[in-house]
Symmetry: C2
């Protein structure tokens, strides 16, 4: 078994089709994988305390905790509720010892068509949780999402836009670079370099873009099955100074989520060693 320590992490969305938190941890360990990134609902299902115990007992490394964000709301009370929920997410990430809290920032609230206003709420929301994050030394990683999610998931849609927010808010806010969301960006190379200069690369997520893509959310591909030049992007990210773990995150309702977790992980490892 190759040494995957410090190289490969599994975002537990990838094995969501067959495993909860504990089963996914056991599965990862069977495949020599000691880095993971779990989701809040998976942790809640087993309980934060038990999840933290499993992490500590097994010496697991959490490359991120998914997820905070979803700030925009139809009114001030809604925004405040979202801010409060994000503070709880920070506490959970701290309890689990995660490298960062990943922020999927949210889209247009209610029936709003004002994306500029939604973006202001995102910056306001992150600013509001930043003191709590800094007090607890928990980095916040803004994940710019593909523009096809601008309406309903994240109105931060390019790396450049995310980095502008980092510049505005200062220390403790960086980015999670997911190849799925950014591979098409004409400014990809320059913005990755900029992120590196800022010391703002907190996470590197991988998967692939399938042609055709049959579902906007749940048809991500296994590395090597699509069109993303993963090695090329990895080189850019490493040249920018981030040599951390690559985290596999695949939402695949009709394919990988239907396979058993061990098959999924074995494929992740094989592809990671050959095409990433």
């Amino acid at each position: 078994m190759s040494d995957l320590n410090g190289r490969l992490s599994i975002n537990l969305a990838t094995t969501r089709g067959s495993w909860g938190f504990a089963e996914a941890v056991d599965g990862c360990l069977r495949h020599g994988i000691t880095s993971i990134s779990p989701w809040r609902d998976q942790v809640a299902a087993i309980g934060l305390k038990e999840a933290a115990r499993i992490v500590e007992t097994n010496g697991l490394h959490l490359t991120g905790y998914c997820r905070g964000g979803m700030f925009p709301a139809v009114d001030a009370a809604g925004l405040q509720a979202n801010i409060d929920d994000n503070k709880r997410a920070i506490d959970e990430a701290v309890a689990l010892g995660a490298d960062c809290l990943v922020l999927v920032v949210g889209g247009l609230p209610g029936s709003s068509k004002d994306i500029v206003e939604a973006r202001k709420m995102v910056t306001e929301g992150i600013a509001a949780i930043l003191p709590h994050a800094r007090d607890n030394a928990m980095p916040l990683a803004i994940e710019p999402l593909h523009p096809m999610y601008a309406a309903d998931r994240a109105c931060v849609n390019t790396l450049g836009q995310a980095l502008d927010i980092c510049v505005e808010l200062g220390e403790g806010v960086g980015v999670a670079i997911d190849v799925y969301h950014v591979w098409w960006d004409p400014e990809l190379e320059s913005q990755i370099a900029r992120a590196g200069q800022m010391g703002a690369i907190y996470a590197h997520h991988i998967c692939d873009w399938l042609v055709p893509t049959t579902d906007l959310l749940l048809d991500r591909g296994m590395m090597g099955d699509g069109v993303i030049d993963l090695k090329h992007i990895r080189k850019m990210i490493e040249a920018a100074g981030f040599t951390g773990v690559q985290e596999v995150e695949i939402f695949s309702r009709d394919n990988w989520w239907k396979k058993d977790g061990d098959t999924v992980l074995a494929t992740c490892v094989e592809r990671f060693e050959t095409v990433c």
Copy 2:
């Protein structure tokens, strides 16, 4: 019936579900619409000569001709074939008296993962047809497509990127701004202003972004059914100096393409007068 002259155009993809070229022209005229934008396959089905006769007889205004582009190829011979085909598209657009030839530039050729190289082929292809376009006074309108089409339809994915190509190639190349493709862009306002200063806005397409969107290509919404702030974008485009016709272009396999053409057009007119 309100006077739609010089205000509303129907891209004939919108009524593709029920009508060919001649039926669509008759339908548009019934609804007081005298501007259209047809597709090459629709013109080919009736014959270029007959299509041109129908256009002339009815005094129709063609806000565009769809479409040229699709340049990237696996080898030089393929690129040359695409260039030759684009020259024929220019000739057809001239025969029909279109305002511009719309370019959907093409994505990754074959099994390529090199989007930078594909983009080079696009610029090379447009440069190769530009003398023929200029000789025939046919403007070329690059249509930046939403990033979700980067792999298979168009590797020009932002207005800024398209305008950079215009700057590089010079006179006779501009942009078609389709709200569906650009509404999410954090640089939308500044790039529209830039396009205006360059005199490069050749067309303004409208439809809407649905939440949820169930198909990447064929689930565009009728104006008013989605999240795009159409009036706001129109104001930006008009402030940039383009006060031309707004062209409705809706691909909607499971909804509008299943309705009869008259219902589609009546709805287009009603929505155009209320939400655009």
